[in-house]
C-alpha cells in the first residue's frame, strides 16, 4: 500500500514538473505494475486539466488522456488475472 501511495505521489510530481515523454510512460508502467490502478484515471484527468483543453463540459468528459487510461485499465483487468503479477 505504501509503495502504491509513493508511486502516486511520484507520478503527481512528475506530471507537474517533468516532460510528458517521462510521465506518460511512468503512468503506463504503474498501470501494468499495480493491480486495479484506478488512480491512473484521476492522474490522467489532472494532465488534461493542467495541459489540455480542460475537462469542462459534457463534450470534454471524453478528455483524451483519461479516456485512454480508463480503456487501458479495463483491457488490463483480465490480462492481469492471467499473468498473475502482483505488487
Amino acid at each position: 500500500m505504501n509503495i502504491r501511495l509513493g508511486a502516486v505521489l511520484v507520478l503527481l510530481l512528475a506530471i507537474i514538473f517533468l516532460p510528458y515523454w517521462l510521465y506518460l510512460p511512468l503512468l503506463g508502467a504503474a498501470m501494468i505494475a499495480f493491480p486495479f490502478f484506478w488512480e491512473a484515471i484521476l492522474l490522467a484527468l489532472l494532465v488534461d486539466v493542467l495541459y489540455g483543453g480542460g475537462v469542462g463540459g459534457v463534450a470534454q468528459l471524453l478528455s483524451p488522456m483519461a479516456f485512454v487510461a480508463t480503456l487501458l485499465l479495463i483491457v488490463l483487468l483480465p490480462l492481469r488475472e492471467r499473468i498473475r503479477v502482483n505488487v
Binding site: 510528458y20 486495479f36 484515471i41 486539466v49 483543453g53 468528459l61 483519461a66 480508463t70
Partner: protein, 258 residues
Amino acid sequence: MKYLPRNRVRGSYSKRALSLVTIFVVGALAFALFDNLIITAVSPLWRAENSFSRSLSTMGTFFKTRGTLIHENAALKERLASLELELSAFSLSRSENERLLELLGRQSEVGGVAATVLTHPPQSPYDLLVVDAGEKEALLVGAKAFLPEGPEVGVITQVSPNFSRVKLLSTSGEKTQAVLERHQVAVTLEGVGGGNFKIVLPREAQVEVGDRVLSADLQSSLLAVVEEVSLEATDSFKEVLARSPANIFTIRFLIIRP
C-alpha cells in the same frame, strides 16, 4: 489443479470495469468543477520551477572554459551581424506595410498585454501554453498571442480569471491561412506538433529553405520559416516542412493582442 469458478471471475470483471467507468465519469465532473482552482494551486509551483531552472542555466556558464567562450563570442558576433541585416530589411518592409495600412484607413496595432508562460511543451503533451494573464487583464477568447520579437505563435482558447490557455498554431491538425513571402502565394499552414508545420504546394511553386511564411492578415506577421522541401520524381505536389521561428520549448513571455 484448481481453477477459479468462471462466473465469479466474469462477475468481478464487470463490477471492476463498471467501477472504473464510474471513477472516470465522477472524476471528470469533479475536475471540471475545480478546473480553475487546480491550476491556481499549481501555478506557484510552476513559477518556482521556472525561476529555479533559469538560475540553474546561469550557473552553468560559470563552468565554461575560456576556449568555449571565445568560440561562442565569435559565433554570437556573426549572428548579430546577420540579424542587424535582417532587421534593416524588416524595418523597410514594416514602414512600407504601415504606409499601406494608412492608405486603407487602418492603423497597425501596438501594445497588448504581456503574459508570463507558466507551462509549455514538453511538459504539456499537447501544443498548448498556460499563461498567467486572464479575465482580470481583459483577455478574450480568440485574442492572438505574439512573441515579444513579433512572430505570431497562437490563439487564446480559454480564459479564466487568473490564467489563459494558448493553442499554438503548430498544434497537430490546426490549419492557418498564410502567405509564402517569396512570390506572395497563398498557402494553408498545417500544424504537425512540436512547433512544426506542413505545407502542400503544387510541384511548379518555387520555394527554398529559409523562405518566410507570413500571416494572411494586414499585419503580415512572421509565422514560420521553411526548413525542408521534399519532392519525389513522381509527385505532382511538393511537401514543405516549416518551423516556427519561436522555440516553443523555451518561450517565457508572450504579448496578447485582441
